[in-house]
Amino acid sequence: MRYAARKLLTLLFTMVIVSLLTFAAFSLIPGDPATARLGMDAAPEEVAALREAMGLNRPLGVRYLSWLAGFFTGDLGSSYSYSSSVSALVGQKLPATLALSLLSFSLVVLISIPLGVRSVGRAARRRTDAARTAVNQLLMALPPFFTGILLTWLFGTGLRVFGVRLQLFVPGRLPAFSVHPGGFLLYLLFPAVAVAVPRIAMTVRMLHSTLLREMNQDYVRTSISRGSDRAGVLYRHVLKNAMVPVVAFLAQTMAEVVAGSIVVEQVFSVPGLGRLLLGSIGSRDWPVVQAIVVILAFWVVLAGTVGDLIAQRLDPRLRLGGDRR
């Protein structure tokens, strides 16, 4: 329990630092938001009034704290370029990004773990090892936006292969989840695959070498010499021990999946946070940018903490402050 409490404390601390860094970075941007909103030829009194209304005359520290509190009360100020509140804008776009990241993350976990385990289960041969390395490196080299473009070409443009029309989705028309959940998931499956492919390759590679190292431990040899078979030892003992670094790696995968979806949303025109973020950067709408950056970073830190807690379940030594092997 003390371990969990310490992790949660670290989580809070990191979140404060993350939000502080973000806030500080955007406070450094030259230019007055009130002038930006009213235009260059606004009357000085008007600008002054708006500055007061936007709370820009308060000290930086106070502004930071009230902004931070906004993440809990839901009041993150209003967007410069849209006439709506930041939280409404973000809330509207969050579900698509969340669904995309989770879908992609599940693909990574569900595909890479069985593949990685299988790759160790059979005795390694040199030729297959070389082929696996080559395929693995090739898949790792596939940038999500390129895979995405290929997928839109194959399944989105109505391409005909042997007279069969392959169109499975219409780019730019994401069905609403409430109306057509199946269509929503099918549409998001393609960007999710594009993001997941290189991460699957990386996870398989990492799992493969972790498992191999673990299979060389003394307890494995003992167990085999006492009559267990290789696969039995692998599933009963080795897998659990090897999962500890893999869990940490998967938590990091969550970060990469989020980053990947920012780019891939653009490829598939998914109306999510990534597109809102890019649009807001383009129109210099800093309150929106700030909020999205912090929300995505919080999400990543949270995933890291959950990963740590799971790792600690798997390896009780970590609870005593021991290091990961």
Partner: protein
Amino acid sequence: MKRMNGCLRAGLILTGILFALIILGFFWTPFDPTAMSGAEKLLPPSLRHLMGTDSFGRDIFSRVLRGAGTTFLIALCTVAVGAVFGTLAGALTGYFGGRVDAVLMRLNDALTAFPSMLLALVLISLFGSGRQNVILALGIVFIPSFARVTRAAYASLRDANFVAEARLMGAGSARILFVHLLPNTLSVLLPALTIGFNNAVLAEASMSYLGIGVVPPDASLGYMLSEAQSMLASAPWYAVGTGCAIVLLIFSVGLTGEGLQRRRGEARYA
């Protein structure tokens, strides 16, 4: 000299070929990459146009050669910025330790909370786009990862006998850090460089694809892909050719990195 493994050899050969092509592309391309030709629009790949032409009749192979050069240069500069400052920070904090080390490590933890792409986007929105700013933004993004790798290596070697001996012989800290210790960290630094390079290629291409990285006339591979996406139905070879160039670049450098890691005899993950 340790023996080269198959991975490293294949990686180095491929990287060498690509490097030669990219250098060639700076001086000579089969066609002018920006020259338009009304008569040769949207041609599929042929012997004359290896990767076909786009909707303006420009030769895609020439464009890819030139674009790969831009991407390559930016990635190289980015890694240089990240590696120099990251190694410096990692060396100092790893070797001296103490309070500065503790503070910088906390900062490093917080920075890794931002997905690298997100951090790059934030920095780009602060600096504005363009070639130098992309290099600067991505370089800063890559500092923490290099700092982490070198810090660990320096911290583990800090109390080694050869360091104590050098100190006894009167060597200054700077000499110990860079003449005695640096060569011993190369086995971790070199693979980190290849991984960093690949991440830089990927990040630059993503940002240019999103339209906030390098802007024309400096067409990089990422920008070309975004252009290619709009011609997907009429000239799919444009996207395929450009994308394959990116994949090939990352693949060859990745293979080299894998080979370097295997030579060290132990897999480490980025």
